[in-house]
Subunit: 179 residues, 2 copies
């Protein structure tokens, strides 16, 4: 329980918005964290602290809010940053994966030359909800013969059980149960 | 010419892709910069060095690749980070602006409570092309009675004359003339 205790302060920076972006969804928004440099740095440093001894080679950031945390984490850890993007955004040769959403399908791409065989990758997003995006991202990393060390996020919405869909370790600074 | 001299090295990390995302467009892509921690840090530190004595209160990041540089810059400078986003992404009360693209229109939003009157803002994007997004972002910042110190970017595509559209100072680490 040390983790929860140490990082529970982050929850104070979250502001839930009901029925956004669509009816029935409660959007968990952390603008106040980004607006507070001390809080933002502390969150990033807690992630960096988590991974400093885990032989991580690369930080992968998920489009688009994942870019915020992955960029600062890569910067702090002095690690390479690669991007996993919505389709049609990356030039050159890509690997593409389609995955199911609650309604419809989505897809993600990674540049084929962005990882080498055996590289150890931490995938970073802001929030893990249903886990679909994170799970698809893990598959992309593995298609490039690289290794998913962990999926890291600021917050995990536990009631959506995203962790069950991700067949890799998941680390969240906080968990939010909106029930 | 001191600026060009100091940062010309960044050009080595750019890789132009012809006809991406559409025919006739040359996409300037800097994946190699992000993959090289020393280079990425150096680029961010050059931006931080630019602004350290300019009494900047807030860094504003543009959706979505602008998040990468704005996040690391805000982190390095210990400044608040706010987001200017594509429509429908920010919960709560927003200011919205529509602007013309070469074909069609686009829009951007900012949260109304993200800036206070008189705050001095640096708007950060990765690349200034036609300048439409940057110019619209400046208008949003001003609608909140805040002050645009400068628009900062990694690279400016000079042949598109984006600078002419932005009625505020523009600072680019490098300029690219694709003609």
């Amino acid at each position: 329980m040390k983790q929860a205790k140490r990082t529970k302060w982050i929850l104070d920076y979250f502001h839930p918005t009901p029925n956004f972006p669509t009816s029935g969804i409660q959007f968990q928004w952390y603008a106040n964290l980004l607006r507070n440099p001390t809080a933002f740095r502390q969150a990033v440093k807690e992630l960096a602290d988590r991974y400093k001894d885990m032989h991580v080679d690369v930080i992968a950031g998920l489009d688009s809010r994942g870019f915020i945390f992955s960029s600062a984490l890569a910067y702090e850890m002095k690690l390479p940053l690669i991007l996993i993007r919505k389709p049609g955004k990356l030039p050159g040769a890509t690997e593409k994966i389609e995955y199911a959403l609650e309604y419809g399908r989505n897809s993600l791409e990674i540049e084929k030359d962005s990882l080498r065989q055996g590289q150890r990758v931490v995938i970073v997003d802001d929030i893990i909800a249903t886990g679909g995006t994170a799970a698809a991202s893990c598959s992309l990393v593995e298609r490039l013969d690289a290794i998913v060390v962990e999926v890291a996020c600021l917050a995990e919405l536990t009631e959506l059980k995203g962790r069950d869909k991700i067949h890799h370790p998941v680390f969240s600074l906080i968990t939010i149960d909106a029930k």
